[in-house]
């Protein structure tokens, strides 16, 4: 069964460093999403991506964040200069045009020291 994959599973970085979180969505999906979940808190939407551009973003998704689909299979989230409060679980999800559900990857746990 096709699934969304994410790498790395855990990333530790120093404050101020850049990180790139990688996702491979399900191959025939057209909509891609990033969510984050700070430990013990609710899941928060970051950004959605369709047709090679951002279709929606939250107020969390400021200039420090960017997304890219560099090669037609990978979907990346870049955090330019990480802050302590960026420590969270980051989930990638993908979905089709017509179905309602979003399929989630296993997440990347980001720890900023």
């Amino acid at each position: 069964e096709p699934e969304v994959t994410q790498t790395p599973s855990h990333q530790v970085t120093q404050m101020g460093q850049e990180v790139i979180l990688r996702c491979v969505p399900i191959s025939n999906h057209l909509y891609f999403y990033w969510y984050r979940q700070i430990l013990g808190q609710k899941v928060e939407f970051l950004v959605s991506f369709y047709n090679n551009e951002i279709s929606e973003k939250s107020e969390i998704f400021d200039d420090q964040f960017s997304v890219e689909r560099p090669d037609g299979s990978n979907f990346t989230l870049k955090i330019r200069s990480t802050k302590l409060e960026d420590s969270a679980m980051y989930f990638c999800a993908s979905g089709t045009r017509w179905s309602g559900e979003q399929f989630f990857g296993p997440g990347t746990r980001l720890t900023v020291l």
Binding site: Y31, Y33, Y35, Q37, Q41, K42, V43, E44, F45, S48, Y50, N51, S55, E56, S58, M89, F91, A93, G95, R97, W98, G100, E101, Q102, F103, F104, P106, G107, R109
Partner: protein
């Protein structure tokens, strides 16, 4: 603004018994999707069940079923014959039914932590 409320931060159930998790939501949309996701300790987000608002019939998936009350904006999850592997965080989520590129994000409740006692 659309919101999702889960009023039970923690629940527990005896193995083999039935438990119901509550979820209410607020929206002015007439067509939308509702979901229950399970997050075990591994923190993977697993879709348990989905409901389209236009469907009157409640969704079921094996031991999992929902009680969807559109007028009351209520969407509860019933787990029958609870198993130890059902222990997890359960999130209720909402999404408008739109084919536009935007406004497709999931809106989440705070979650209910379910413990299953042997």
């Amino acid at each position: 603004a659309q919101t999702v409320t889960q009023s039970q931060p923690e629940m527990s159930v005896q193995e083999a018994e039935t438990v119901t998790l509550s979820c209410t939501y607020d929206t002015s949309e007439s067509d939308y999707y509702l979901f229950w996701y399970k997050q075990p300790p591994s923190r993977q987000m697993i879709l348990v069940i989905r409901q389209e608002a236009y469907k009157q019939q409640n969704a079921t998936e094996n031991r999992f079923s929902v009680n969807f009350q559109k007028a009351a904006k209520s969407f509860s999850l019933k787990i029958s014959d609870s198993q130890l592997g059902d222990a997890a965080m359960y999130f209720c989520a909402y999404r408008p039914s739109t084919n536009a590129g935007n406004n497709r994000k999931l809106i989440w409740g705070l979650g209910t932590s379910l413990a299953v006692n042997p």
